[in-house]
Subunit: 407 residues, 2 copies
DNA sequence: GGGACTTAGTTCGAGAGACGAACAAGACAG
DNA sequence: CTGTCTTGTTCGTCTCTCGAACTAAGTCCC
């Protein structure tokens, strides 16, 4: 049940009904492809005539294509429909502290080409480099196919509407216009988003239909050098009033505790990030100074800690168990606050899933209000890797399938 | 940007466009009443002809009515339109541990009659009593006006769709079908909701337009014997996957801390409820046993503590300041997790606003990630009182104005 | 006071699109 | 070849948007 904002609404025009039905039809094709016109008519509960005209439009636009005829027990053989993914390309860009990744992909998420380079921190220079690489990617790999846009994910606060980066501490950016800069350089539509939100977006929009359908509330947690989270509520990504929602990484775990890189004390991130785990293993108290030291001269990584724990190193095991306990503590806040259908956890730490699962579950169980909430599934991020880049793809692909906003 | 669920969608039919535009028009009248047809046409950017036909329909249904002519500097004088609220009644019911309240109100939230009785814990008996009182209220006060339905708010987990109460520990209810029971007894449409969510709903749907418009993300916190919260994200109330979302009262404030009535340790509620404040003032460590004792033989209430703090009692001041500090701590979690446009706080504690505001602000400021987030407004609940009953009214009134779901 | 001008509200015709019925195109059994 | 069944297209009808013409009711100016 949503309000109609009387100062900013979308009125229905002559073509609104058609737009709605066209999008529903497109989504049905996407979900049930290959599918015949007659089947679509049955699923939509409309006459086959309407399906004919709608499909004709979608065919003309290249949104769907006709496949082979299928064998049926009786009657005329139907011509099956599919959504067009191969000829519609997306350039996904993931800007991180150490490196920047570019992925050329089609609408279905199939990877065509992946490359990376050391991140340049000057925005203008970085955009120049990106534009050059985008052009090169399209020249060499996109044989005639159309590029629908560029999706960029950034570790920081982003205004999706205006295309500006408010604040990205890792990159040292403040109030940087990314979108218009890249639009000017490439002439392509550009979408930007925070990397945590983008991971959630990818989970919501890409991947198999069974996973997508039905789940309207979840939290996607990425544990790496920091702890990023993307929150989906009522089937929509939560961005918040000032574009800083979903920062569960910086909820306090207690009034005291280690000082976090963000300046506050006792943040979840300061207890559970890869750096925090490594610091714990090495016997240091976590602090911004320790974190910076670990980042620069990283003799030991989390991967090392996980390997050693597997090899029987008791101190490594203890450090990981402690990380699991704190993660569970943070997850219990999510469970009580949002009651998500599931919590998805990604990052290197999932390699130690057999170790951390138990303390996570125990902590949630201890603090959840109902039995059902206590059993909230916590699942390692489904495979395929590159969740951030998948999020960048979703940024471009999702609007083509999203429900129109009316009212 | 929301997904279309290919297994459960709303197709556009011939009448969909009209339904959408009718609702927009109704909302415009609600927001800007009194308003003329010509003004409506300008605001909707349609011809006056369409407004004429839509208004004719709404007049016939009794959703709006024509008022007086207005003076204008030039031209024909317009006939002003208003939404019909006086002839459309709602019975709002608030079931609480100690007493149950019934309010007869119109669609505009104007109170016509208020009564209460000691809560009966047997669901069947309570429904009988309620049905009797609803009938009596309508007989004596509703002179011919139509009752649009009954709204019930309950301190517990509720499934709004099925009308069931999953679990209401205060009432000792588990899996109680409230809606169908009351529908059978009264023949009226019945809506039920958790009381925290209902308070948020009232804030979202009732009250002056300036407050409503634009604010799509907020948290409504009620501090009484417990701490209840209603969360609104993207303009919709958050219910969660298992109907237990919005329980910020039971997020942990630290790994240790006082045991809460819910069974967990260190919940926000165990630090900041009225009972916790009183216990702190009296020098007790909070525990379920202490809470029950305070509930039964309450020699001192929060109101007393606030009065004494006002009178110069240093221990009372200290207890309230501490409560404020913990509240701020809890609010900082909301700010980082959801980045709401504002946090609304209700309950007796707001009488000590001059005391608790500073520690609340300080704690949020210390932990928020951005300056804007640090300045998230925390406002005492706007007057009018009876937020729960207003929520019950909103349960019935809101659907009449809600945007239709398409896609 | 009467015409010119303005604004509000209604009526009407054209065009877009949902919707249902009829029809053409395959496929198969007898 | 004929009857039956299913898919896909075409076409007329009905609903609804949308703009233009028209009526109603004011003010302003000469």
């Amino acid at each position: 049940m949503r309000t109609i904002n009387p100062r900013d609404f979308n009125r229905a025009t002559r073509s609104t009904s058609r737009q709605i039905n066209r999008l529903i039809l497109l989504n049905l094709v996407r979900e049930f492809q290959p599918i015949s016109r007659a089947d679509l008519a049955r699923r939509m509960a409309v006459g086959r005539g309407m399906v004919t005209t709608l499909v004709k439009e979608l065919l003309a636009e290249g949104a769907v294509y006709e496949g082979a005829l299928t064998d049926v027990p009786r009657g005329r053989r139907p011509k099956m429909l599919h959504v067009q993914t191969r000829d519609r390309l997306v350039v996904a860009i993931d800007i991180r502290f150490s490196r920047t990744y570019l992925l050329l992909s089609d609408f279905g998420g199939n990877q065509l080409a992946l490359e990376s380079f050391g991140t340049v921190f000057d925005p203008g220079q970085l955009l120049d480099e990106l534009a050059m690489r985008v052009r090169r990617l399209l020249r060499t790999h996109a044989a005639g196919a159309h590029c629908e846009g560029i999706g960029i994910v950034i570790p920081g606060m982003v205004d999706r509407r205006s295309g500006r980066v408010f604040n990205a501490p890792q990159l040292g950016w403040r109030d940087v216009q990314v979108r218009s800069g890249l639009v000017e350089r490439t002439g392509l539509p550009v979408h930007i988003e925070n990397s945590g939100a983008a991971c959630a977006l990818a989970h919501l929009w890409l991947g198999p239909g069974e996973r997508r359908s039905g789940i309207r509330d979840f939290v996607y947690v990425t544990v790496s050098d920091g702890v990023g989270t993307g929150v989906v509520v009522n089937g929509e990504v939560v961005r918040g009033h000032g574009h800083t929602a979903g920062e569960f990484g910086h909820i306090p775990i207690g009034p005291d505790g280690p000082r976090c890189l963000c300046g506050a004390q006792g943040c979840l991130e300061a207890h559970t990030s890869n750096l925090a785990t490594v610091a714990r293993y090495l016997g240091y108290d976590f602090s911004p100074a320790v974190a910076r030291e670990l980042l620069q001269q990283s003799s030991v990584t989390v991967d090392d800690v996980i390997r050693r724990a597997g090899g029987g190193d008791e101190r490594a095991r203890a450090a990981l168990l402690e990380t699991g306990r704190y993660l569970g503590f943070g997850f219990s806040v999510m469970v009580n606050a949002l009651n998500p259908a599931q919590i998805i956890i990604g990052g290197e730490i999932t390699a130690a899933w057999n170790l951390i699962e138990a303390p996570i579950r125990a902590e949630i169980g201890r603090r959840a209000l109902t039995r059902r909430a206590a059993e909230t599934p916590v699942v390692p991020a489904p495979g395929g890797g590159l969740p951030r880049l998948r999020g960048a793809i979703a940024l471009v692909a999702a609007p083509a399938f999203a429900a129109p906003q009316v009212g």
